[in-house]
């Protein structure tokens, strides 16, 4: 099952919902990996809305598992991108051409939803009007508060910053602007005293 219930946390930590059909003048859906399942659920609820949707899907590790299923629901446009980065020009183009009444649906990993939400916010949509549904991996996009480098898909706490090599502890403190959680050096007071890494939410 691709759903995971995050435990209650601090206010800063994003909370995700369940995608629901909403009336609008256009429908942009962006998903990665198991996020496709949330889109398929949406298609089951409202096939007509789905026929009007522009989907940008990044399969990540799921390969071809979801691509044909999505295509069989006949969205207006299905664009399969090899990575989030490669889909950014398309997302920006779609948003710059869009008008008020566009509905944005995001599904999949936190890193994808956070970054895509940022693009939609920069285009003028308030974050509260953007629907999100978490599916699949609980990996996090982390920012090192020391060197500011971003490490994608962090699965353990603590982890090693991919930029400066410090041992960072994974916080729930989140930046909507950066679409990243904050990683803080775990052994600042006692260098070298690094706890054994534990898998997130295990």
């Amino acid at each position: 099952m691709s759903k995971f219930k995050f435990p209650e946390s601090i206010r800063s930590r994003p909370v995700y919902g369940t995608l629901e059909p909403r009336s609008g003048k256009g429908h942009l859906m962006i998903a990665d990996a198991e996020g496709a399942e949330a889109l398929l659920d949406l298609a089951a609820q409202d096939a007509e809305l789905f026929h009007a949707a522009h989907i940008i899907f990044i399969p990540k590790g799921t390969g071809e598992t979801f691509v044909e299923k999505l295509r069989s629901r006949q969205p207006a446009i299905l664009h399969v991108a090899p990575s989030y980065e490669s889909s950014i020009p398309r997302i920006r183009r779609v948003l710059s051409d869009a008008h008020m009444g566009l509905q944005v649906y995001l599904a999949g990993t936190e890193g994808l939803m956070g970054q895509a939400q940022n693009e939609a916010m920069n285009a003028g949509i308030p974050h509260t009007a953007i629907q999100t549904e978490h599916r699949g991996s609980v990996a996090r996009r982390m920012q090192c508060v020391h060197c500011k480098g971003i490490t994608e898909d962090v699965m353990t706490d603590p982890f090693v910053c991919s930029h400066c090599g410090l041992n960072l502890f994974v916080r729930d403190h989140y930046s909507r602007r950066l679409a990243a959680f904050q990683g803080v050096r775990v052994d600042a007071e006692d260098p070298g005293n690094v706890p054994e890494p534990v898998e997130l939410y295990k």
Partner: protein, 328 residues
Amino acid sequence: MTAAPQKAKAGAEKIEVEVSAVVPLNDLVTRFEFKRRDGAAFPPFSAGAHTVVEMQDAGRTRLNPYSLMSDPADQSIYAISVRRDDEGRGGSLFMHRNVKVGDAMTITYPVNLFPLDLRGRKHVFLAGGIGITPFMAMIAHLERMGGAWELHYACRSKALGSYADELSSRHPNKVHVYYDDQKQAIALEDLLDGQPLGTHVYVCGPQGMIRWVHETAQTHGWPDENVHSEEFLAPQPGKPFEVRLCKSDMVIQVGEHESLLEAMERCGVDAPFLCRGGACGQCETDVVEADGEFIHRDHWLDDDEHASGKKIMPCVSRFVGKALVLDR
């Protein structure tokens, strides 16, 4: 957030003014301009703000909110435009009949419950009748900033279209006026369609118009955050009732033609308020005990709070029944 400094008493901080001009615009609407009596500059205000005007009407103090419609960048003057309401409670009639150039009056610091969202890429204004006033200040502000805006202004007739000519001649491509008596109407669906992402719409006018705009925008998929409205309610008359105020330890009578807030003020209770029109939430009061029915009329409390019988907004809401005890 208000522009007012820390206050010791209820309401926003006050400014002593002199009426510097009274300009009748048409049969119903007159503009009143104020200068400060101490000669200092007015505090700057943000477009959309209102001031509460204190009127001394034959021993009775009337306090009515009016949108500031002068240019926010002009600190030498504040101006309001008042529509005469012959059926109303008498505040607008007092302004029209009794207020003359040179009169000393007291107004409050500006309070803004209807600000521009300056993150907006474009601002669409929808005005109904006297609802044009806050947009006068907003337009002045956006013109200075070079912001994108358009105005759709519905009024009864050419003769009653306050500022319609002035606005149309100054901004011919941005101002669209619709006259009811010529069967013209705002084509709301068409004008919501195709607005760029990040557009905000603002509506000020009668209740029906505000609801129409909110509902139409919602069915078009507009986020609630992008639809702004302001409507000041005037307290409605009703059956007199008795209230026990437990903090003040007194029992007061609310008359037919006064609001609960006004009755408290008349009895010397320093009750909080800002807008006096059911919009700002400042006067929210806890109900300790009630045996009867509330007549809630505010825009502040949600439906659940109205139904709970635990809170009341004394500026516009009333009570019918045996006993009411408030935590004030």
